[in-house]
């Protein structure tokens, strides 16, 4: 029943003749060179545009049409068509969202609206229709895509077109995941209805047994750091790499948000065994960064989401700092949260022996990088009204750095450390 009604809806919105005629533009018999095929595709995209996007009451493309546009993005042979299909897909998603938040702000109640059987570039099912097989992206190919991007960046012999196409594809897929995730996450925060996030494309993608989550996170990190490679490149390449880079950051943030939501749902007891267990991304990232100091500094330099950056650094530092004091804290009963804020951690640096121990364990350079980035992230949240805490944190940073020097004269303050010190000092000056 539901299938019949949904297909009749499709017929109403995009009449069969129009679909066939538009798709026919791509039906060349094959005796065309790249340029003609290119022209056909541009004409097809133009037709989609004028049917769906230009009229105020444009008709949403059918699944077949979406698939055809996506095919062009994946297999197009020229930058022009790849860009055009990328752009039109984004415009179509904006015009015809498949999941969105409804309900008025005044009533305070939001609900999630989803379009049944909407098209998706992903295919998480086990049985795949033969014509979709090569076009739709499966969990394993998403992982492979990220690996290939990493390769593409570091190996110059990869063909340019392939690199460009991979980057566009990746950016688009993350864009799709985000459009799918954000409204679900918003309503989940209000309703705590885990099923909303459980059905998100992101969760389906990561829950697949074909994805090795740990490897995926490692690949993300190394690709991210490879994308900032400063060597000379064409303008187009620089632009695309920036796009892929910010997509990668968005992906990481989304995954960490999903993990946090799942943890909440676990505590609420609304998840089931079917939801599976996986190590949270945050932990994997912190572990990776602990092993590799170079990765640490380049990651923190690139990753600019202040909330999660702070979270990552605090988790890193607490591994070394809170452990010895946990027992005493428990018995004495001061707020346990103290040790998990930046200020609390910085305070432990004011004690000479503590500072010495931590510096010895983590290394003087890494300590500066961690404190510096956490401080900058914290500044993002510093509201003008919270003058006191701002002053406090700047003072703590300054004393932490001066203490480092006091602990061991041989410790060299990194240029970045000096810049952080400068920043803290000048924020204080402005407050004075």
């Amino acid at each position: 029943m539901s299938k019949a009604s949904s297909s009749s809806r499709v017929m109403n919105s995009y009449d069969g003749g129009l679909e066939a005629n538009t798709l026919a533009m791509l039906d060349s018999t094959g005796d065309k060179d790249d340029r003609d095929a290119n022209e056909d595709r541009l004409m097809f995209l133009g037709a989609v545009r004028s049917a769906s996007l230009v009229p105020e009451n444009g008709i949403p493309p059918s699944k077949k049409m979406y698939q055809a546009i996506f095919r062009i993005l994946r297999f197009g042979k020229r930058l022009e068509v790849i860009t055009a299909s990328f752009q039109i897909l984004k415009q179509l998603h904006q015009r015809f969202p498949w999941v969105y938040v409804s309900g008025s702000a005044s009533s305070g109640k939001h609900e999630l609206e989803t379009i049944e059987e909407a098209w998706s570039p992903f295919n998480f099912g086990s049985d795949v229709g033969s014509d979709d097989k090569e076009t739709s992206v499966r969990s394993s190919s998403f992982q492979q895509l990220i690996q290939n991007m990493n390769k593409g960046v570091s190996e110059p012999e990869e063909s340019d077109l392939k690199i460009l196409r991979n980057m566009f594809l990746f950016e688009y897929l993350v864009h799709f995941l985000k459009l799918d995730f954000t409204p679900r996450h918003q309503v989940y925060e209000e309703t705590m209805d885990w099923s909303l996030l459980k059905e998100s494309s992101l969760n389906l993608l990561l829950a697949s047994r074909k994805v090795n989550f740990k490897h995926l996170m490692k690949d993300c990190l190394s690709t991210m750091c490879a994308l900032v490679d400063p060597s000379e490149k064409s303008i187009s390449m620089v632009e695309l790499q920036k796009g892929s880079l910010s997509a990668m950051k968005e992906l990481l943030v989304m995954i960490m948000e999903l993990d946090a939501s799942k943890k909440k749902a676990d505590i609420e007891g609304v998840t089931t065994r079917g939801d599976g267990v996986r190590t949270p991304a945050l932990e994997i990232i912190v572990d990776e960064l602990t092993y590799d100091g170079y990765l640490l500094s380049s990651f923190l330099q690139v990753f600019d989401n202040p909330k999660w950056k702070l979270e990552i650094v605090l988790q890193y530092l607490t591994k070394y700092i809170t452990k010895p004091s946990v027992r005493t804290r428990r018995s004495n009963g001061p707020p346990a949260d103290e040790s998990k804020t930046l200020n609390g951690i910085l305070k432990s640096f004011s004690n000479g022996t503590n500072a010495k121990n931590i510096t010895k364990k983590i290394g003087p350079g890494i300590v500066q990088i961690l404190i510096g980035h956490a401080f900058l992230a914290q500044l993002t949240f510093a509201n003008a009204n919270e003058g006191d805490s701002l002053t406090e944190i700047c003072n703590s940073v300054i004393s932490a750095f001066t203490n480092l020097k006091r602990v061991d004269q041989k410790i060299e303050i990194l240029p970045f450390g000096k810049e952080v010190l400068f920043t803290a000092e000048m924020v204080l000056k402005a407050k004075a």
């Binding site: 400063p230 510093a382 402005a430």
Partner: protein, 455 residues
């Protein structure tokens, strides 16, 4: 086995089939002509040799003249056929080269470092014992501060950007040859500008803003042919123009950010924003910047959005007129129209106006809308000397003119005339018509005609 990400062999549409070479050979036939020519030539030589053998007293002068004439006739024939074939293939792609030689950038601001209050203030603090900042190391220090994001964070937290820092960062953004410096400077400006319109958080007090003249000078130093009296050049495949420096990216982002806050702080005047729209459209025509096309489109949307409501209709007219007067009368016309997204109300109006003005220029026309369409209707597509490339351009321009606005809805007469034009194009051109653009005109018209009749 299942390798969905390996694209190379997957697409039957784009994988040119093996028959392509043979077909092409048949069409072009140049190789055939040449081999025919050589066959003929060798026959003549053989004949000549036989004749020589037959009669040693033979006077060859006259015959050689004959051969020469024959030879040149063959060459001419070859040439003619080649020309014909060329004509057939002559479907030019869009592309203009908007950039000439780069000029040397203006000297940097290092000398003025003493006037940086931020550095001066810090040097008197106790912390400077650790940092050890001296006037001679100030420049390097400031660069590090910028690249690591400290400067941006500091300025946002202090909610004020002093003049020196503003000028210094703009200079890096526009002229630095180091990617990390220019992109950090760009991030700096995007942050402090967007702080002006953010709801929470204090807006940064900006002591100095770049003006349009400075941005324009930068663009000129990148080699951009900015002056409308300079004719734009068609792109050549072997063009040795180096194109713009990578700073153009930062330039675009800065312009977009300036326009986004225009409602609160009009950095540019109306006529300057009009000029910026034109510049962006021209940049979209340069294939060298094709990789930036998404950035250019976003920038164009920001700039178009920055006009005041009451300004837009007249500004739209201005922009359209100016673009139409300068555009080469070829396939680039269409690229110009397509560079305007035409999805929201504003860009629809712009797309429609540009199409209209270009039609007026191309048809050399000064009459009513109906007249414009009747001259389209009178095009005789059947006639052999009808310029089908122009017809194709007319077709696309008219479609955009009529349907990016409400014109076709409001005036059914225009719609009917449009349908007649479409019918002419789709029915009077034969499927076997081999003229360049014949099939393009026919297919497009046929498709559009369906849309016409179904409504």
């Amino acid at each position: 086995m299942d390798e969905p990400l390996d694209f190379e062999n997957d697409d039957p549409l784009v994988n040119p089939p093996a028959t392509l070479e043979q077909r092409r050979k048949k069409v072009i036939g140049l190789d055939d002509l040449l081999s025919d020519f050589y066959k003929e030539k060798s026959k003549i030589l053989n004949k000549q040799n036989r004749k020589r053998k037959a009669s040693k007293l033979y006077d060859s002068d006259e015959d050689e003249h004959g051969q020469e004439a024959l030879l040149s006739k063959y060459v001419d024939d070859c040439q003619n056929q080649m020309d014909e074939i060329d004509g057939e293939e002559d479907i030019r792609e869009w592309g203009l080269s908007m950039f000439g030689d780069q000029k040397t950038p203006t000297p940097s601001l290092h000398a003025d470092l003493v006037s940086c209050c931020l550095l001066k203030e810090f040097m008197n603090t106790q912390s400077n014992q650790v940092v050890d900042l001296r006037p001679d190391t100030g420049a390097n220090f400031l660069e590090g501060l910028l690249v690591n994001g400290c400067l941006t964070r500091l300025v946002l937290t202090r909610a004020c950007a002093e003049k020196f820092i503003c000028k210094w960062t703009v200079n890096l953004l526009l002229y630095s040859s180091k990617e990390d410096l220019r992109s950090s400077a760009c991030d700096f400006w995007c942050s402090i500008l967007s702080s002006q319109i953010e709801i929470n958080g204090a807006p940064v007090e900006i002591d100095w803003l770049p003006n349009y003249q400075e941005l324009k000078e930068a663009l000129e130093s990148y080699g951009f042919r900015i002056n409308s009296s300079q004719d734009v050049e068609l792109a050549k495949a072997d063009s040795e123009s180096q194109g713009p420096p990578p700073n153009i990216r930062a330039w675009l982002k800065l312009v977009a950010a300036c326009c986004q806050i225009r409602c609160k702080n009009p950095i540019f005047s109306t006529s300057q924003v009009e000029e910026i729209v034109e510049i962006l459209v021209w940049l979209l025509l340069d294939r060298g910047l094709h990789g930036l096309s998404l950035l250019l489109h976003d920038c164009l949307i920001s700039v178009i959005g920055s006009f005041k409501k009451e300004e837009w209709v007249s500004s739209c007219e201005e922009i359209a007129n100016s673009l139409a007067s300068r555009v080469p009368q070829d396939i680039n016309c269409l690229r110009i129209v397509e560079s305007v997204s035409g999805i929201d109300a504003r860009s629809k109006l712009l797309r429609s106006s540009i199409s209209n003005k270009m039609l007026v220029v191309l048809l050399d026309h000064k009459g009513s809308d109906a007249n414009l369409l009747s001259s389209l209707m009178s095009i005789k597509v059947k006639e052999k000397n009808c310029n089908l490339m122009k017809t194709y351009i007319f077709l696309v321009l008219a479609e955009n003119w009529l349907f990016s606005s409400k014109l076709a809805e409001e005036k059914p007469v225009l719609r009917d005339m449009w349908a007649v034009f479409l019918r002419n194009c789709s029915c009077q051109i034969n499927t076997t018509d081999l003229r360049p653009y014949a099939s393009k005109v026919r297919t497009r018209a046929a498709y559009l005609l369906q849309g016409c009749s179904s409504n």
